[in-house]
Each structure stands twice: as structure tokens, then as C-alpha cells.
Symmetry: C2
Subunit: 342 residues, 2 copies
């Protein structure tokens, strides 16, 4: 009802502090908030004391308002309740904090119209950067409008960054999906595997395509069978569930383009009484933390999220365009889900 009166007491403002300290508002401002300007140590002392005495809390809205930009980095993600993106968010927050920024997370549920709404709302917040992570849909029309919206944001002084997302025309931070997958393919071929089933993403995402292609190249070009499925735990599970047993038996290895898919595969195999790795081997991609809880330990490709976070924050803050630099290297990690074969 009555918004401002809620709680009654008037808030302490910079003016109050200045008055108590016997200085002008600008001087108080120069002391309390980061300014290069010098203030005499006598005044500085009095202002600090006054601020402490009144328990002054700067009004971030007012600061953001007058500065025209906030200390916020917006992180836009399809989902947050999964280890991969929440780990990425955690790394990003750590990194941002050490640079004096904070991260706001927005979830889109992977729906294009939600993405658009989220960006509109975010623009209103005037964040320093808007960072998109992962697997966006490729809906040309939807993306066109989204790209327009983001361009408008950039024109107004913001920065758009994409993490391993390729369907929008903005600066990009990518992993070397292809090389990591190729390394995995080589390693597994070297262990003696010969008939691999690869689960790709039914949503056509360039990054996922690179993983499939890279693996195929490293493993043995032409021998790999690919199935497209939902990019999720359920997607992995469903492929196994729906595949006739005799068909599944033709493979000695199943590889998911994400760990989540691989975990879905393992769950389904378990249900059907197939043992990993005795009956069939499994591997994933990303090296999410959940892997420490599965047995046997899952072979995967490690993605160094700390490096990603560091790059994101550096570029988000940098005034200039850095271009889409070299991809961040990834490397295969062999574990017990893929022991030497034959």
C-alpha cells in the first residue's frame, strides 16, 4: 500500500552524514564512495565517524541511477538447478566479486520468449554486461528480435557475452569442444573400443555438433553411430529406454555430449540390468561435480570453469572489444566407466 512509509523511519542519507560531519555533501561523497579526488585527512576522519555513527548505507539505486550503470553482471542461463550451470555461476560470482562486481542470475527455462522478456527486464537494470551461457534454441525469428534487443543494449553502452553459444552475433567465449572430444575419441579408441554410439543434441547447437564431430574424428571416422536426443538427463535415458536390446548390444560404448545425458544413460542401463563397464562403457562431457557420486566413475572431458569465469569477468569489465579470442582448452579424463577393452 504505502511503499515509502513502510517501517516509518526516514533513511539516513549522505546529506545527514555531511551535516553531522560539518562538510558539504560532495565532500562526504568523495570520502565514502570511491573517488580519485583528495580530501583532507581531518575531513575524511569526521565524515567516516559521522557515517559510522549514523549507520549510513549508501543507496545503490541512487548511485546506479546517477552513474548510469550498475556493478552488476547479468548471467542468463537456461536452468540453474543442475551442477553444470550452478558451478559455472559459482565460479563467475567468485571472480566477479574479486573485481568489485556482483552477479545476478536470470533463468529462462530455455524458452525463447522468456529469453526475450528476461533481456528486456535486464536492460532496465542497466547491468555492466549480459552474459549468456549455453545451449540456446535456434529459432531465427525469435533470435532476430533477441539480437535486436541486445544490440540496443550494446548501443546504450552495455556488453553482451556468449559462453559457448553461437546463435547470436556477439562476442564469444568458447571451449575447444572439438579438440577435447577428439582427444576423448582417440583415447577410447586406443583402449580398444570399436563400436561407439554417440548421443548428440536434437537441438542443433554448434558446440554440441563439434563434440560429436570431434569425437568421431578421434575415434574412427565413419564408424560412429549418432543419435540425436534431448540435451538432458531424460534425453540420455530415453535413447536407451527406447532402443531394442539387441540393437544396444551392438555397441561397446555410449558417449553423451554432456555428462547429464551420460548419467541418464547410466540410469537407464541400470534399470535394464546392463552393467557399466562390464556390458557397455559410458562417457560424458563437462566433468560436472555430480560425477564424484556415481559409480563407476565416469570418463568425461574436463572443462575448466575457473578459466571461463575469469575470461568472462575480464571481458565484461574491459571497455574495449577483445574479439572472440582462442577457445579455452578442454581435456579428456579417463575413469573406470571406460576401462581398457578386450
Amino acid at each position: 500500500m504505502n511503499e515509502t512509509a513502510r517501517g516509518g523511519r526516514r533513511r539516513v542519507t549522505l546529506y545527514d552524514v555531511a551535516r553531522l560531519a560539518g562538510v558539504s555533501q560532495p565532500t562526504a561523497s568523495r570520502v565514502l564512495n570511491g573517488s580519485d579526488r583528495q580530501v583532507s585527512s581531518a575531513n575524511r576522519e569526521r565524515v567516516l565517524r559521522a557515517a559510522r555513527e549514523l549507520a549510513y548505507v549508501p543507496n545503490a539505486s541512487a548511485q546506479a541511477f546517477v552513474r548510469g550503470s550498475s556493478k552488476m553482471i547479468a548471467f542468463v542461463v537456461g536452468r540453474i538447478d543442475g551442477t553444470y550451470f550452478s558451478s559455472m555461476a559459482a565460479a563467475l560470482m567468485r571472480e566477479a566479486r574479486s573485481a568489485g562486481y556482483w552477479v545476478s542470475i536470470a533463468v529462462t527455462d530455455r524458452q525463447p520468449e522468456r529469453e526475450l522478456r528476461v533481456v528486456r527486464e535486464l536492460r532496465a537494470q542497466r547491468p555492466r554486461a549480459i552474459v549468456f551461457a549455453g545451449s540456446g534454441f535456434i529459432d531465427p525469428t525469435g533470435n532476430e528480435v533477441l539480437a535486436d534487443e541486445l544490440s540496443g543494449y550494446e548501443r546504450a553502452g552495455g556488453k553482451v557475452l556468449l559462453i559457448s553459444r553461437t546463435d547470436l552475433p556477439f562476442e564469444r567465449i568458447s571451449f575447444d569442444n572439438r579438440a577435447g572430444a577428439e582427444g576423448l575419441g582417440q583415447a577410447l579408441a586406443g583402449l580398444g573400443y570399436q563400436r561407439a554410439l554417440v548421443l548428440g543434441s536434437e537441438t542443433p547447437l554448434l558446440g554440441m555438433l563439434h563434440r560429436v564431430e570431434g569425437f568421431s574424428d578421434g575415434f574412427a571416422p565413419g564408424t560412429v553411430e549418432v543419435r540425436q536426443t534431448a540435451l538432458s538427463w531424460e534425453g540420455g535415458r530415453d535413447v536407451v529406454e527406447r532402443m531394442p536390446p539387441e540393437q544396444l548390444s551392438r555397441f561397446d560404448l555410449v558417449v553423451g555430449v554432456t555428462d547429464e545425458m551420460a548419467l541418464g544413460v547410466m540410469a537407464a542401463l541400470r534399470v535394464h540390468g546392463r552393467r557399466v563397464p562390464d556390458d557397455i562403457a559410458v562417457a560424458g562431457f563437462n566433468d560436472i561435480r555430480t560425477l564424484r557420486d556415481v559409480s563407476p566413475p565416469l570418463t568425461t572431458v574436463h572443462v575448466p570453469l575457473d578459466l571461463v569465469a575469469e575470461a568472462v569477468v575480464r571481458r565484461a569489465i574491459a571497455g574495449h572489444e577483445e574479439g572472440s579470442g582462442p577457445p579455452i582448452p578442454t581435456h579428456p579424463v579417463l575413469r573406470e566407466s571406460t576401462p581398457p577393452h578386450h
Copy 2:
């Protein structure tokens, strides 16, 4: 360097829209931002058209500034890279969104001094509510200062909410830890288990204590052995690692006060070649999503995060104090990690 000039182009303001539409600024405001005031449909139409034409984006900082409070709910959490809190955050965001609010997540790494800093920074943002989730330390001095800070925030019109946290004097949303744990204890005793090792939290948290006590009461008062350990995966693992094998053999069941701990236990048991549930049974608490990936499926106590999120948002928005209502019920879920025994 030059903050405001970044990007060059002046931003479109409400004034521009009003001028193009040929109306006053307040009228444009009434049309574009939620106001109860009526505007003639002719003017409404012109304003909307003008806004679209100029691609007007409201300045949320200015709005928050002048309104004295933002549409933000701050969610303060020890860590975000775990299934439990990220699931809770996800539920909270869903719920908040449908009420027209958005959630900002702040991570404290469970360090008291970080908690204090985070709250200070959050206060500056003037969020509608600050919500603390989970396991805070009990450091009386640290908490005293924190409580002061939060009281100041409430006096200024904000709302503090605690989710299953009991070391601060504010409105609380709690689960029925005791009843859930008691139900679990009864159920497991009913299955024939007789010698339980319960892993409690070495940090003295009331909620965790209730779980230990509840379980003990339900299982068989006096027969349960309790070990305190770190409230984490590592904490669970360490207990098993450090326990002499013959001592561990005395138990037919290990219960962690969180699923994370239980998963740590399972990992350690695996390493030491003890099979679950054949050699020893394991149970946890929370029913996190990671459980779908472990085998055998873990017995636990389900905590309905959707209900929690709903309660949080409702109370965060409500102008009045609701008191710390009845706890949200939890219920045991029996799975294969604790089959009938003997």
C-alpha cells in the same frame, strides 16, 4: 574511465516518449509502468506507439531509486554449487517471477565476515526482502553485528526471512526436521535395523540437531551412536575414512543429516570395498536431485522445496509480519539403500 559516455548515444527516456506522443511525462509514466490511474485510450495508444517506436526501456535504477525499494528479493546462501541450494534457488526464482519479483543470489562461502559484507552490500540495493538459507555459523559476536545490520535493514522497511536457520532473531520458515527424521527412524527400525550410526553437524545448528534427535527418537532412543562431522560431502566421507574397519562393522546403518554427507559416506564405503546395502545401509536427508544418479537409490527424507519457495515469496511480499508459522512437513522416502534387514 568515462562511464556515462561509454557507447556515446544518449538513452531514450520517458520524457522522449511523452514528447513524441504529445502528452506529459506523468501520463506516459501512467501508461508504461504499473499505475492504478486511468488514462484515456487515445493517449494510451499514442504513448505505447511512441514507446515502441523509440524502443524505450525504463530505467530500473531510477524507478527503484524514486520508489525507495526494488522488485528484488535477495537470496543469501553459503554455496550455490550444490544441488540442494541451487534447486531451492530455482524454485524461489520461479515463484518470485510469477509475483513480479526477481531473485538475486549472494554467496557467502559460509564465512561470517562475508555474510556481514554481503548484507551491507545488499542493503545498499534496497531489496524487498533478504532471505537467508541454511546452516549459518553460530559465532555470537559475528552474529550480533549481523543481527544489528539486519535490524537496521528492517527498520528501513525491509524484510528478513530465514529458511531453516535459527541463529538470528527474525521471521523464520522451517521444515519439520524432527518429524521427518523421526518418521525415517521409525521406518528403518521397522525394517529391522538395529545399530545406527548418525552423522550430525559439528557446527551446532538447531535444525541438524533436530534431525539427529528426531531420528534417534524414532529409531530406538538411546541405541543410536552419533558422530559430529563437517556438514558436507567431505564430512561424510571423512568419518568413514577415519573409522577403524572393525568399528564400522558394528553398524548396520549410517544416516547423514544431509544427502551430501550420505553421498560422501557412500563414496568412502565404495573405496573401501563395502557394499551398500549388502554390507551396510545408508540414508540421508533432503532428497536432492543428485540422488537419481546414485546406485543404489538413497533412502532419504523429502523436503518440498516448492512449498518453501511459495512461503518465502508470499511472506517476502506481504507487508505484515506473519510470524513463524507451522513448519513445512517433510516425509521419509524409502529406497534401495535401506532394504528390509534380517
